[in-house]
Symmetry: C2
Subunit: 98 residues, 2 copies
DNA sequence: CTTTCATATGTTTGTCTGTTCATATGTTCA
DNA sequence: TGAACATATGAACAGACAAACATATGAAAG
């Protein structure tokens, strides 16, 4: 599947899956599957305080899973690429199976 | 993609991805992609002690990502289904991209 | 320029989790 | 049955991490 001798890939992979391994981040990512949202919208949407959301967004951004765009005073976040949705989707397929 | 009102799915999803979010578990799963192995083989293969491997195998088994079979004194572990490999694969694709 | 709104950042706290060590369980074979 | 081997389990410790609170940064409008 890939060169297992390159142990770095394993750590990168683990770091990638870590991003999806938390329900708050997962809910953020899912919320962004139907288009960009700003921090306030996400906070309200998930019933969490602004700080928690902002922290997670910065984590997700560092992992290059979301990207940010400023419009006036707001920062709009959106999914960085199609992989994000694909990964969630394949996870869902597994979870939903008998 | 799925019914977001069903919050349980989010938690199940997070739990699933948690399994892939640790390098030891990932290395175990990867090692099993080319066939079943017993605990001793895995421990030697990953240069880790038997107890650590056994603990992680029991975690993976509880998550139904691996299954176990006894042969004589040894327990042979293998991937539970095709999803496991698919999930790793799609993660690798993301990691390997520019 | 100052107030207000939106977001980011620093710090602390409580919880979770991976590893190790020690020991128990269970299987085989003499 | 008992010794030897393979794996599992329990407890303890250390490191990681998400959430909350307080505060700082930055943009816009008057």
């Amino acid at each position: 599947m890939f060169d297992a001798n390159n142990e770095d890939i394993i750590y990168d992979l683990a770091d990638l899956f870590k991003m999806f391994a938390d329900s708050t981040r997962l809910r953020i990512l899912y919320a962004l599957t139907d288009g960009e949202k700003n921090v306030g919208e996400l906070a309200e949407n998930l019933s969490m305080n602004q700080s928690a959301i902002s922290h997670q967004l910065s984590t997700l951004k560092a992992a290059k899973l979301v990207k940010a765009r400023r419009d006036k005073k707001s920062m709009y976040y959106s999914l960085a690429d199609d992989h994000v949705e694909s990964i969630i989707k394949i996870g869902v397929e597994h979870v939903l199976e008998p």
